[in-house]
């Protein structure tokens, strides 16, 4: 059990440390969703669209001080790109900003 948690810890550290391997973030998201630690992305996107209508162009799952955070990039009708940050576990909007 301890070994598993160590492996997980190592893995998560690896993801944060090596952005070049971000291809693997979805695998982590899948695992975390199956463990029930984060909400499904579909739900997060629904919330995001309710806050800011637009097309989803990129999604990233980040770990910020032990908290899983979904960063959703949305393109609105006027061509503006929005970045919305959600608490992946609760779906709470943490931050919303428009990219310049």
């Amino acid at each position: 059990m301890r070994r598993l948690s160590i492996v997980l810890l190592l893995l998560s550290g690896l993801f944060v440390l090596t952005p070049g391997l971000s291809d693997e973030d979805h695998q982590q998201a899948r695992r975390l969703k199956e463990l029930g630690e984060i909400l499904p992305l579909e739900q997060i996107i629904e919330i995001a669209r309710a806050k800011q209508p637009g097309r989803v162009i990129e999604v990233e799952l980040k770990n910020k001080s032990g908290r899983h955070v979904y960063e959703v990039e949305l393109l609105d009708m006027r061509g503006g790109v929005w970045e919305l940050y959600f608490d992946a576990a609760t779906g709470e909007l943490i931050k919303r900003e428009q990219e310049d």
């Binding site: 291809d23 973030d25 979805h26 899948r30 992305l41 579909e42 996107i45 162009i57 990129e58 999604v59």
Partner: protein
């Protein structure tokens, strides 16, 4: 529903709707099929690229060379997904994120294709096949979202419906115009029939579309037949009256014979009856003479009819019993066409002039006034005229003022009959200018409209 226009419109609507439905079914079906085939061929291409990017190590672990995939498979829920699975492991594209795609293992060489639900309510077309690479068997499935395709199909359906409606409206408009144009000759025929009724034309013009020409020909044929029949019966009456003249004068002489004097009642009765017959015959003969050859009709043009009538009367009265009477018949009439029956008018004016000529010394005046639907007629002479008492008597039928001038009483009675038919007024009085009898008549025709 008894309208050609409506029937044609219904027929056109039914045809267009049927045609458009058929066309829509064909085109929409073809578009959907082409779209799916296009998506399918793209999926096959993507599958080929994935196959080349896929590495399988000896322990059976599947690995993808990341740079060899398009970004569409990396963007979450982009609508482009793949799944690679073997006995040990399932590899999902990043675009699937935390969702999965139900794919069952397929034996090598087997290819399958189906539709399924994807994330965010997408409808996916899945293409899957069983493969073997580097000695390892696995199943590869690629999927693409069909929503843009079905959205454009929906858009196409709306465009098509709008276009169909527009086409239908346009065709209905064109048809309406064509039908209107085709039926315009009928309106002309209607106008001609109205003219016919007023006697302005004798028959309908046969310069009409072929479809209605038979009808027009039949109407013309009927008109000719009616005209001939009327002429014949008129002639027959005149001829009969003429033929009866001989036997009647024989009867009159018979009544004056010596042997009849012994029976005064019988001879008086005989005289009265023969007189009656003579009056009726005179009336018919005069009528036949006055009517002339003109076609019957609800049309009386005084400028055309009066000269003939006056001419006939002139001749009748200047040669009475060889007594030459210099008669000046002066008439005056507006240049209008009255919508009164020609025969009735000729009988009315003819009788009044006949009376006036009979009593006049030298002068007779006839004046017509009014418009199409109103006719005011005054006939005056310079004869002795009538006293108030006589005028009162004249209103009774068949009363004669002077027995020596035969037919007088009946003439006025006929005039009164005609005036009654038209609901007009008949006034007798003394002429202020000529000093004789003045008869004035007012007629009014109530238009149907």
């Amino acid at each position: 529903m008894n309208s050609v226009q409506q029937r044609l419109q219904l027929g056109l609507i039914a045809n267009i709707v049927l045609l458009m439905l058929l066309l829509w079914w064909l085109v929409a079906g073809a578009i959907e099929k082409f779209g799916e085939e296009f998506v399918q061929s793209r999926l096959e291409h993507d599958a080929d690229r994935l196959l080349s990017a896929l590495q399988v190590d000896e322990s059976g672990v599947l690995q993808l060379t990341p740079d060899r995939m398009t970004n569409l498979y990396k963007q979450p829920f982009s609508g482009h997904y793949f799944v690679v699975l073997n006995d040990n492991k399932t590899l999902y594209s990043r675009s699937l994120w935390d969702e999965s795609l139900a794919v069952s293992r397929l034996p090598k060489g087997v290819v399958r294709q189906w539709n399924t639900q994807g994330p965010l309510g997408q409808t996916l077309l899945v293409w899957a096949g069983g493969f073997q690479k580097q000695g390892q068997r696995f199943t590869l499935a690629v999927a693409e979202d069909l929503t843009p395709l079905s959205e454009s199909l929906v858009r196409f359906n709306w465009y098509f419906a709008g276009l169909s409606l527009l086409t239908l409206m346009l065709l209905l408009g064109v048809q309406h115009y064509v039908v209107r144009r085709s039926f315009r000759p009928l309106e002309h025929i209607l106008y001609e029939i109205k003219n016919l009724q007023q006697g302005a034309v004798g028959e309908l013009s046969e310069d009409v579309p072929a479809e209605v020409r038979p009808l027009v020909r039949e109407v013309n044929h009927l008109l000719r037949l009616l005209g001939e029949r009327l002429q014949r019966s008129r002639n027959a009456l005149g001829n009969l009256a003429h033929a009866l003249k001989g036997p009647l004068s024989l009867l009159t002489r018979l009544g004056q014979q010596e042997s009849m004097r012994a029976l005064p009642d019988l001879s008086a009765s005989l005289k009265q009856q023969t007189d009656n017959i003579r009056q009726l015959m005179d009336r018919e003969l005069k009528r036949a003479r006055l009517m002339g050859q003109g076609a019957p009709g609800v049309r009386f043009a005084p400028q055309e009819e009066m000269p003939v009538l006056v001419d006939v009367l002139q001749r009748m009265f200047t040669a009475v019993d060889g007594q030459k009477k210099s008669l000046d018949i002066h008439w005056q009439a507006p240049d209008v066409v009255f919508v009164f029956d020609r025969d009735d008018m000729l009988e009315l004016i003819g009788n009044l002039l006949d009376n006036a000529c009979k009593w006049a010394k030298h002068q007779v005046r006839c004046e017509l006034r009014g418009d199409e639907y109103h006719l005011q007629l005054a006939v005056e002479d310079d004869g002795p005229g009538c006293s108030d008492e006589e005028i009162k008597q004249l209103t009774a039928r068949g009363v004669r003022i002077d027995e020596a001038a035969p037919g007088h009483g009946l003439g006025l009675a006929i005039v009164r009959d005609v005036v009654e038919i038209y609901g007009g007024t008949l006034t007798l009085g003394r002429s202020s200018t000529l000093g004789g009898l003045r008869v004035s008549v007012c007629l009014e025709k109530h238009t149907a409209k």
